[in-house]
C-alpha cells in the first residue's frame, strides 16, 4: 500500500490486499461505524476500533471507505480520533485526525487498485 504524498485520503493498493483502518479516540470514548464499497463493516477489535477489509477489483478501480466518529456533547473541544491506515502487503500511514463536530463526523478514504 502507498499513500499519495499530497493527499492522505488517497491510497494505492494491490488487488486482494487487505486494508486495515484503526480509529483511536483521544479524550473521548471510541464510538465508530464504518462502511466499505456500500457495505457495513464489522469491528475487528475495540478501542482502538479496527476495521479490516479485502480490496478486490480490477486495476484502476477506486473503492471508498467511509467512517463515522461519534462524539458526546460533554467531550472537550480538543477530543479527536486518530486514523491509522495499513495494508497487508506493507505500508502504514497516518491520515488526518477527526476532530469533534457533534454529533458525528464522517470521513472518506479512497483506495485505488494498482
Amino acid at each position: 500500500m502507498t499513500q499519495d504524498p499530497n493527499d492522505n485520503s488517497l491510497y494505492t493498493v494491490t488487488s486482494t490486499e487487505r486494508v486495515t483502518v484503526s480509529l483511536q479516540s483521544v479524550q473521548c470514548n471510541c464510538l465508530t461505524s464504518a462502511g466499505f464499497d456500500g457495505q457495513a463493516l464489522a469491528k475487528q477489535s475495540a478501542a482502538p476500533d479496527v476495521y479490516s477489509v479485502g480490496v478486490t477489483g480490477n486495476s484502476g478501480d477506486q473503492k471508498v471507505f467511509a467512517g463515522v466518529c461519534t462524539f458526546s456533547p460533554s467531550n472537550p473541544p480538543t477530543a479527536h480520533y486518530t486514523l491509522q491506515v495499513s495494508g497487508s502487503l506493507g505500508g502504514s500511514f497516518q491520515a488526518s485526525s477527526v476532530f469533534k463536530t457533534l454529533p458525528g463526523v464522517a470521513f472518506q478514504l479512497f483506495f485505488t487498485i494498482a
Binding site: 479516540s25 461505524s33 462502511g35 456500500g38 478501542a47 467511509a66 488526518s96 458525528g104 470521513f107 472518506q108
Partner: protein, 567 residues
C-alpha cells in the same frame, strides 16, 4: 447554484456555524423559534428556508472547519492541513439539498445551546451551596512559595480541576488526569480502559478562600478545611466501557452504520473528482492569502468567532472557484438524471437527520448509565472550625475559643438515583420513581488523642440516611422559559457517636438529628428552603432542640444560565 458571490447578506449565514453546530450537539433542545430574516435581498432565486429547517449543510461546513482547525500544525504554518477526506461528506450535504440555496439563518443555534445549558443547570437539585468549616493550622513559608503558580499550571493543563463555591475552593484530581495532562500517558480510550485504578480514584482538597479574586492564592496548609482520597465503585463517566457497550447496541450505531454505508457508495469516486478535489484545491490556494492567520488564531485561542470567519471564507472560496462550480453543476445534473443517485442523496440526507435524533436518545441513555446504585470509599482528614463560646458572669463576660483537633475519617457512601429515561418506575432504587437514596457511614480517629480532653484514638462513628424526592415544578404557574427548577422534599436522619463526650458533664455521646426540608423554587434562580430539625443533643452540649429554618437562596449559576438562554 451554490453561489454566494456579491451577496453579503447571504454570507451572514456562514456566521452561524457555531450556532448550527450546537443544534447538532444538543438535538434534544427545544425548537426555539428562529429569528429568521427571510430571504435576503439578492437571494431571491435561492431557497433560504431549506437551510433554516435543515442544518445538515451548515453542520457539514462546520465539520470541515473543525477539521481544518484541529489538524492545523503550528510548527508547519505554511502547510495547510490535509482535509480532503472531509470534503466528501460536505459535498454530500450540499448535493443532498437537491436544490441550490442561499445560506441564510440566524443565531438560533446559540439560543438553543444556552437553553439546554440552562435546563441542565436549573434542574440540579443536589448542588451544595454551603462550605465546610475550617480551622487555622500552622504552615511554613517554604510550602507556600510557588504553589499557586504550580497549581495554575496544573489547572491549565487539566491535571487539576478547581471549583469555587461560596467561600471555599475545592481542588480535585485523579491519577489518570495527572498522567494524561502532563503527557506521561496519551489520553486514548485504550489507555483509559487499561487504567481503571487511576480513573476510579481521586483526591481533593478544600480550602477556605482568603482572596476570592485569586482563589489559587488561598492554597496553603493553613487554609485547608479538609482533604480526601476517594475510590468509586463504578465508573459512571462518558469514557466508561459501558458507554461503548451501550453504543454498540444502540439505534445511534445503526444510523451511523447507515451513514457510513451511504458515504462508501462508489458514486463518491465521481463526487471526489467533480467536487472534493476542486474544493480542496481552492482551499489550499486561499491558504496563504487569508485563511492561515484565522486558522492559527482559532486553534490557539479556541475562539468560535474565528470558526465563523473561516467558514465564511471557505464558502466565498467555493463560490468563486470555477472548477467547483462546474463540478457542482455536473453533479446536480447527474442526480437529476439518475434515480438511484437521487435516492442515495435523499437517503443520506434522511440518515443524517435521523442520526441527530438518535443521538438525543443515546445521550439520555448515557445519563441513565450514571444513575442506579453506586458508592465510594473515602478517607479524609477534617480540620473542623474553631468553636467560640461566650459566657457572662455578673458584669463581666468572657470568650473562650476551643480548638477542635483534626481527625481522620473513613467513610462509605452509597447512593441510588432511579433511571429516568430507560425506566420510569423507580428502578433500581427503593424510593419510587423520583426518589434518590443516599447512605453514609463513617468512623473517625484522632491521630494524636489528647487525654486531658478525654480523647481516644477512636473518636466515634457516624451514619446518615437521606431520601430526596422531586415534586415537580412547584407552585409557580409561570416559569421563565428553560427553567427546569423543581420543588424537592428531603428527609434525613443522622446519628453520631462521640466517644470523647462519654461521661462528660453537659455532653452526650450519642447525637441523633432528624431533618425535613422542602425547597420551593419561587423565581429564576431563587428558591425558598423550609426545614425543621430535631436533635437529641448538640455536639458541645446535651440540650435537645427543635429548630425551624426558612430563607431565600439565590443561585447565581442558574440565574446566569437562564439569562443567557432567554436573552
Amino acid at each position: 447554484m451554490f453561489n454566494l458571490r456579491g451577496r453579503p447578506s447571504c454570507l451572514a449565514a456562514a456566521m452561524l456555524m457555531v450556532g448550527i453546530n450546537s443544534i447538532a450537539q444538543n438535538p434534544a433542545a427545544p425548537k426555539t423559534p428562529a429569528k429568521t430574516s427571510g430571504a435576503a435581498p439578492g437571494c431571491s432565486n435561492l431557497n433560504s428556508k431549506a437551510l433554516e429547517t435543515d442544518p445538515d449543510l451548515v453542520n457539514a461546513v462546520a465539520a470541515v472547519v473543525a477539521q481544518i482547525i484541529g489538524n492545523y500544525d503550528s510548527t508547519r504554518p505554511s502547510h495547510p492541513p490535509a482535509i480532503r477526506q472531509f470534503w466528501g461528506p460536505f459535498n454530500a450535504a450540499v448535493l443532498g439539498e437537491m436544490q441550490p440555496k442561499c445560506l441564510s439563518a440566524d443565531a438560533l443555534g446559540i439560543a438553543v445551546q444556552n437553553a439546554v445549558k440552562a435546563q441542565a443547570v436549573t434542574a440540579q437539585t443536589n448542588k451544595q451551596v454551603t462550605a465546610p468549616p475550617a480551622q487555622g493550622q500552622g504552615t511554613s513559608l517554604v510550602q507556600k512559595v510557588g504553589i499557586p503558580q504550580l497549581l495554575a499550571l496544573a489547572v491549565e493543563n487539566g491535571a487539576i480541576t478547581d471549583k469555587v463555591s461560596g467561600t471555599t475552593m475545592t481542588l480535585s484530581t485523579s491519577p489518570y488526569a495527572f498522567l494524561t495532562a502532563f503527557g506521561a500517558v496519551s489520553d486514548t480510550q485504550a489507555n483509559y480502559n487499561a487504567s481503571a485504578w487511576a480513573t476510579h480514584t481521586g483526591i481533593s482538597a478544600t480550602f477556605n478562600l482568603s482572596n476570592s479574586s485569586d482563589p489559587l492564592a488561598s492554597v496553603s496548609r493553613k487554609q485547608v478545611s479538609q482533604w480526601q482520597a476517594k475510590a468509586t465503585f463504578r465508573d459512571t463517566s462518558i469514557r466508561s466501557k459501558s458507554v461503548a457497550t451501550l453504543y454498540a447496541n444502540s439505534n445511534l450505531k445503526k444510523v451511523a452504520d447507515a451513514v457510513a454505508i451511504d458515504l462508501s457508495n462508489s458514486w463518491f469516486v465521481t463526487v471526489r473528482t467533480d467536487l472534493d478535489i476542486p474544493a480542496d484545491n481552492a482551499y489550499q490556494k486561499a491558504w496563504a492569502a487569508n485563511l492561515e492567520t484565522d486558522v492559527a488564531d482559532a486553534q490557539r485561542t479556541g475562539d468560535s468567532a474565528k470558526s465563523d470567519v473561516i467558514a465564511t471564507a471557505l464558502l466565498k472560496i467555493l463560490d468563486a472557484d470555477q472548477d467547483y462550480q462546474t463540478g457542482l453543476k455536473n453533479s446536480y445534473a447527474q442526480i437529476s438524471s439518475e434515480a438511484s443517485l437521487s435516492a442515495l442523496v435523499k437517503k443520506l440526507h434522511s440518515d443524517r437527520a435521523d442520526f441527530n435524533e438518535k443521538e438525543t436518545e443515546f445521550e439520555k441513555k448515557i445519563a441513565d448509565l450514571a444513575k442506579g446504585w453506586n458508592g465510594d470509599f473515602a478517607f479524609s482528614e477534617q480540620f473542623p472550625a474553631t468553636v467560640t463560646s461566650t459566657s457572662a458572669s455578673g458584669a463581666s463576660a468572657s470568650t473562650t475559643t476551643a480548638t477542635i483537633p483534626a481527625y481522620f475519617q473513613a467513610e462509605l457512601d452509597v447512593t441510588c438515583e432511579p433511571y429516568s429515561y430507560s425506566d420510569n418506575t423507580g428502578k433500581p432504587c427503593p424510593l419510587r420513581s423520583t426518589g434518590t437514596f443516599t447512605f453514609n457511614a463513617s468512623a473517625m480517629f484522632y491521630p494524636n488523642p489528647v487525654a486531658s480532653l478525654n480523647e481516644k484514638t477512636f473518636r466515634g462513628a457516624h451514619a446518615a440516611l437521606e431520601g430526596q424526592w422531586t415534586l415537580g415544578p412547584g407552585f409557580l404557574r409561570t416559569k421563565p422559559e428553560n427553567d427546569k427548577s423543581n420543588m424537592t422534599l428531603s428527609l434525613s436522619a443522622n446519628y453520631e457517636r462521640l466517644e470523647e463526650n462519654k461521661d462528660q458533664p453537659k455532653k452526650r455521646p450519642d447525637l441523633a438529628i432528624g431533618n425535613i426540608k422542602l425547597v420551593i423554587p419561587i423565581s429564576a434562580g431563587v428558591a425558598l428552603p423550609v426545614s425543621f430539625t430535631a436533635a437529641s443533643a448538640g455536639e458541645q452540649n446535651k440540650e435537645k432542640y427543635v429548630r425551624g429554618n426558612f430563607g431565600i437562596t439565590f443561585d447565581l449559576d442558574k440565574l446566569e444560565a437562564l439569562l443567557k438562554a432567554n436573552r
